[in-house]
């Protein structure tokens, strides 16, 4: 009975660790997905409704996301959120982006949005590739390590 519990726990733990390891790639992908969606949404607003940034943020679909929280904190001059899955270059890109956001007329903003569109899109693609590759890899690794440990215990 005790051995069975240990086996189940070991297998479960290795799957959980592999899931947690893959989570940062999922979060990074979600971050860039929100970044990309926000950029497109902002571009539309510049051309048509011209709502203010706070109201765009408030109406954004995924307004509880990490990206929106980072944006909100920047605009309110609050402390920057420390997200472990973001590297220095991700923060650099975000800071460069928000430092110009809303601060010029619509023509300059459209130009600025176009300049960033390619970079954000590329980062989104890279994060998607990483997500697909590493999520599958970590889950498989977790499964096999768990299985190996189970065999060893048995």
């Amino acid at each position: 009975m005790g051995k069975t519990i240990v086996v189940i726990l070991t297998f479960g733990l290795s799957i959980l660790i592999s899931y947690l390891l893959s989570l940062k790639h999922v979060k990074l992908h979600n971050f860039y997905l929100d970044f990309f969606t926000f950029n497109n949404c902002y571009e539309n607003q510049l051309s048509y409704s011209k709502n203010t940034l706070p109201s765009i943020i408030e109406k954004f679909n995924n307004r509880d996301s990490d990206f929106i929280e980072l944006l909100r904190r920047y605009m309110d001059n609050r402390e920057v959120l420390n997200l472990s899955y973001l590297k220095d270059e991700d923060y650099l890109l975000f800071n460069e982006y928000v430092s110009t956001l809303g601060k010029t007329d619509e023509y300059s903003q459209k130009q600025f949005i176009q300049n960033y569109k390619g970079i954000i899109s590329k980062n989104l693609e890279n994060s998607e590739v990483s997500k697909k590759r590493y999520c599958a890899l970590y889950i498989k690794l977790g499964f096999f390590i768990g299985l190996t440990l189970v065999i060893l215990i048995l």
Binding site: N51, T52, P54, G102, E106
Partner: protein, 306 residues
């Protein structure tokens, strides 16, 4: 009793006026002065902040006011940028059409004139960059300042087409605001306020419709038909087109109460855009004491063309 209600309304209006769009150092300094006596704040890059306070030109310093140029708080370029960023709700692009027209308006109806480098494209101003000067005009509600005009309207038992005349800063908008409130309170129906600069934010009522941030072309051609007003209130008739829109509206049976920039009646009648016989009543303002003080009221028949 009515007196206390007016005082309470006035005090509330002043207290609710929000200056949080200023950088902290300017906001703190303004907090030290009596805003009721403040009419104008001028911010110029690398110059001390200049105020028109109680009919005097003074400078703002950390403790409030000073007469000495050297002791005033120097306005930096980043201060002006911060004011604009805050007034536009962190979205300058959304207010570009206002900036192009040379002004911004805060949520409380404080009008901010802007000056900087105009960026042209196809002979059209696309935006103003490197903004170097701001002229912040503090609106005041002066209860009952339009009473003399209102009494005439009551006596005549009809709304007269009225033109309010004065140089800038004498209180034309203040007078118009008070007049709108009085007309509304006296159950004059279907009053349309054409608020090109968002300065009538504090004016509302059950008979009042307001179109904000539109030009007179839209207001007189579209809104006049869609809203079917009986009285139209509009600020600052400037161009020949403005006068023609008013003429068309009057010929359609709508009553107009408007304002225009001029020092005297002669100055207005000498303007190239002036159309004789359009207005029934001319009101000239002076700059004694509070804004909205009436110097002269002249009927159409008494008008001598210069």
């Amino acid at each position: 009793m009515e007196f206390f209600v007016i005082i309470l309304y006035f005090v509330t209006y002043i207290l609710l006026m929000n200056f949080d769009f200023f950088p902290a150092k300017i906001f703190n300094a303004i907090s030290c002065i009596d805003v009721d006596k403040l009419y104008n704040i001028r911010l110029r890059v690398n110059e001390p902040i200049n105020l028109r306070y109680n009919n005097q030109m003074l400078f703002l310093n950390e403790l409030g006011l000073t007469k000495e140029y050297s002791k005033g708080i120097t306005c930096l370029h980043k201060d002006i940028e911060e004011v604009i960023y805050n007034v536009t709700d962190k979205s300058i692009y959304a207010f570009n059409s206002n900036i192009v027209n040379g002004f911004l308006t805060t949520k409380d109806g404080i009008r901010i004139g802007v000056a900087g480098e105009c960026v042209f494209s196809d002979e059209k101003v696309m935006t103003i960059k490197n903004i170097s000067s701001l002229n912040i005009r503090i609106p005041h509600l002066v209860p009952n300042c339009s009473e003399r005009i209102f009494d005439i309207l009551i006596r005549e038992k009809k709304i007269l087409n009225t033109l309010i005349i004065s140089p800038p800063g004498y209180g034309k908008t203040t007078l118009l605001k008070d007049l709108v409130l009085k007309l509304n309170d006296s159950n004059y129906e279907d009053i349309l306020v054409i608020d090109e600069r968002g300065e009538f934010s504090s004016v509302c009522g059950r008979h009042v419709d307001t179109i904000k941030f539109c030009n007179k072309l839209y207001a007189f051609n579209i809104a006049l038909r869609s809203m079917s007003p009986k009285i139209v209130i509009t600020d600052e008739l400037c161009s020949c087109d403005d006068w023609l829109y008013v003429k068309n509206a009057i010929n359609s049976g709508v009553k107009i109460i408007a304002s225009a920039h001029a020092g005297t009646l002669n100055e207005i009648t000498n303007k190239s855009e002036y159309i004789n016989g359009l207005f029934d009543l001319y009101v000239v303002l002076n700059d004694y004491g509070r804004p909205g003080c009436i110097k002269d009221i002249v009927f159409k028949d008494e008008l001598k063309l210069g």
